[in-house]
Amino acid sequence: MLKLVLNRFGLGILTLFAASALIFIGTEILPGDLASAILQNTATPETLAKMRLDLGLDQPAYVRFFQWLFAALHGDFGKSLANGRDVLQEIAPRFANTMFLAAYAAIVAVPLAIGLGLLAAIWQGGIFDRLVNVVTLMTISVPEYFLAYLLIKYVAVELGWFPSLASVSSDTPFLERLYDTFLPMLTLVLVIVAHMMRMTRASVLSVMASPYIEMAILKGLRKSRIVVRHALPNALAPIISVVALNLAYLIVGVVVVETVFVYPGLGQLMVDEVSKHDVPVVQACGLIFAATFILLNMIADILAILSNPRLRQPR
């Protein structure tokens, strides 16, 4: 089993490498190049040539790639083209904000989703189950901005309970932060709770259809014991997978939510900088997002391996 885990870990590293390569390739095929983008109108053939030399653009692509990667691993992402500031300094506070929002949403969503999913499985077929099924089916179908604007219009504008723009800064006190980011958190939660709850329910029900569950029923065990002692351990692997996958999705969904609520996170930065062709920033954002996503996926797979009862005891 250790071998499987190491395997998966190695695959994760490989994927990260491939992702960074793709990001680099994607951003370096620019119409026009970095030098002219920096110099803009002041470019003359001589200044362009000198700039290219300075930036190392005369070197072949793969050399530049490794230089970039190497620097990135040390935290040096270069300088922003828009305002000349160090990219890392630009990104760091944004990244912290995004992580805060993601963590806020995750902490609320995960226990809620698993609890609801278990209940729906135990009371399968009942009113609760059917209601929850329809509601979550709807919530997972809709785009995040729909939920977001719905919340903004009715909860923020009409009822005035929460602010419609989540503008926080680095010195906003903790509780006020929780308050300001409540609506974006709620939006994210609504989407991922639905996914995770449905998968929890489906996993538990699928396990409940196993023959050893019938045996447990025939031994006269209580339903609660059957679900918790017999079904859950075997449903754990897929549930953990889904939770981790949803957390990974969170990283992506956060981009849209940040845009709607104008929240100063990494996602919003990326969206803004893309239109400005600010390549170093876009590269850095892309890399960080991709890394987090890949990392979470990898953890999901490794946890799934670890929680599989058959793999824990060798033959």
Binding site: P211, Y212, E214, M215, K219, G220, L221, R222, P233, N234
Partner: protein
């Protein structure tokens, strides 16, 4: 047969009166699965429930515990347990009966154990949760039961996980699991059906010993009359949910009253006549010459095997699971390339790989599979299924294909109107006939039959065998018949090869191989097939006790 004398005074532990179980869904009422079945089970008695699939025997067993499968409901009758009517009490009270009063032993042990917990946890669970025994008492009782059931390492086997233990052992652990809470009634639901013949004997003996020592009453459900004869005091014959006959074991076996019962009994007994051999024809159709084959990571799955099949022969290849018989078929057809030896068809060598063979070579050797449900494409009609080989090999026009398909359906005793039906609409027996028709459509010289009757009911399987024999007489086609069932071999094959762990241990004319002097493994196999005599099990156990060392050596040899 039970050694205890059953008196009319033994208390009745289970009284079933007019049980009716039917299917009911949102769409309405469905078929009746159990129709007016009654029986009275006394303490210490074993009643065998016997019937083919769909007879309702499992349903009766489960319903006796107050449990029905999805969409099924108990719609009539009384099920009186002690002095409680199971139908009249609440679901919670019913739940409390299960385990301490009435316990279930399922067909598949592997499916009945939770892979996430140790065996001991699950064995003790019912007794502990129902507060019959404390955790420590349950463990002691479990180990004692393991010893009674002749399980290896009884002190430590409990700490293993289900996938670490063999099938036969797991089945016995399941019996222990049922017995720990000391129930009054045990329901055995086809517990040995999925096991090899040789393992079956050990389990049967273990179960019988268990029941006798504890004086438990039992319902023993099986489709195999010979098995039930060894363990039941009375036998109830069921067909499509109804009782056909119910009486003393000896009477049912030796003097059956009903027509259906007689058919069941005689089919098993009939497997006595050896098939006459044919005159030898110079060149064998199929010559398997010192063939060996490996799977990646598993060497010598087929080890130096030589078999010859001549025109008009039926050569049976018999062995238990893991013997390599099915793998041999794959080597012959080229699905698995051989690593050594030669396979010759009519003298010409066949290349090891399927894709290197000519269309004509492929045409002449056809195969029929065990599971009719997956051997045919459920989305294809009978015309497509049977017609394709005709079109593919012989390039016939559409009209000719249709005509030939209709002709083949007639030969199979299937209505011509079925030609436009999809194969998924047919029954198991009918599907198997379509499989045969498909093979014949290619006009082959040799047909490989891979366990073709193993998945069918006994009577349906008999019909298929008769059909195959008739086709052989009419068309002169040869069969390579792979099976684990010795009765079938005796009925249909004139030559037989016995396989054990990849090697052939005995081969030749059926009459010769199955008459003494035997190879020790052949003897073991032959003696493991339950016979319809109630004293058979005792005889076998006595004989085994003396030859025990030899038997285990044989089965464990590399």
């Amino acid at each position: 047969m039970s050694e205890q004398t059953l008196t009319r005074d033994d208390p009745i532990v289970l009284d079933i009166r007019g049980m009716r179980v039917a299917v009911r869904t949102d769409a309405g009422d469905g078929p009746v699965l159990v129709d007016d079945v009654s029986l009275q089970l006394r303490r210490g008695e074993v009643i065998g429930l016997i019937g083919e699939s769909g007879a309702g025997k499992s349903t009766i067993g489960l319903a006796s515990m107050g449990y029905t499968r999805r969409d099924c409901h108990i719609v009539g009758g009384n099920i009186i347990f002690g002095d409680t009517d199971i139908r009249a009490i609440s679901p919670n009270e019913r739940r409390e009966l299960r385990g301490p009063k009435i316990a279930y032993i399922a067909q598949s042990a592997a499916a009945s154990f939770n892979p996430a917990h140790t065996l001991m946890e699950q064995v003790c669970e019912a007794a502990v949760r129902h507060s019959v025994l404390s955790s420590a008492e349950a463990r002691t009782e479990a180990v004692s039961l393991f010893k009674q059931l002749d399980l290896p390492s009884p002190e430590t086997i409990g700490s293993r996980y289900p996938h670490q233990v063999s099938g036969g052992q797991l089945q016995r652990v399941m019996a222990a699991m049922a017995m720990v809470a000391k129930p009054d009634i045990l329901i055995f639901d086809e517990p040995t059906t999925a096991l090899d013949v040789t393992t079956q004997v050990e389990c049967l003996a273990a179960f019988r010993k268990l029941i006798r020592e504890h004086g438990t009453a039992a319902l023993y459900i099986t489709h195999d009359l010979a098995v039930v004869a060894q363990i039941a005091d009375r036998i109830m014959v069921l067909r499509r949910g109804k009782m056909v006959e119910f009486g003393d074991s000896r009477q049912i076996l030796l003097e059956p009253k009903e027509e259906y019962t007689r058919r069941l009994v005689s089919e098993r007994v009939a497997g006595r006549a050896f098939v006459d051999g044919n005159i030898a024809v110079p060149i064998p159709i199929l010559a398997i010459d010192h063939v060996s084959a490996d799977y990646p990571g598993k060497p010598k799955v087929v080890d130096d095997v030589s078999i010859e099949v001549r025109k008009g022969d039926t050569v049976a290849v018999v062995g238990e699971s893991g013997s390599g018989k099915s793998t041999l078929a794959r080597v012959v057809t080229g699905l698995l390339p051989r690593v050594a030896g030669d396979v010759r068809f009519n003298g010409a060598s066949l290349s090891p790989r399927l894709k290197d063979r000519t269309k004509d070579q492929l045409r002449r050797v056809q195969m029929i599979y065990q599971m009719p449900d997956v051997a045919l494409n459920p989305q294809h009609t009978l015309l497509e299924t049977i017609g394709r080989p005709v079109a593919f090999y012989f390039n016939r026009s559409r009209r000719e294909v249709r005509a030939r398909t209709a002709e083949l359906l007639r030969q199979m005793d299937l209505p011509e109107s079925f030609i436009t039906r999809k194969t998924s609409e047919l029954s198991g027996g009918q599907k198997q006939r379509v499989s045969i028709a498909r093979a014949l459509a290619a006009e082959p010289d040799l047909i490989i039959c891979d366990e073709v009757t193993s998945a069918l009911d006994q009577l349906v399987g008999e019909e298929i065998l008769r059909l195959l024999k008739k086709l052989q007489d009419d068309l002169g086609v040869a069969y390579l018949f792979i099976t684990h069932d010795l009765g079938t071999v005796k009925r249909i094959a004139n030559k037989v090869a016995v396989m054990l762990k990849g090697k052939i241990v005995a081969s030749g004319d059926t009459a010769t191989v199955f008459s003494p002097p035997y190879h020790p493994y052949t003897e073991l196999l032959l003696s493991s097939v339950p016979e319809m005599r109630p004293d058979w099990l005792d005889e076998v156990l006595a004989a085994r006790a003396t030859g025990a060392a030899r038997t285990s050596a044989l089965l464990r040899a590399p």
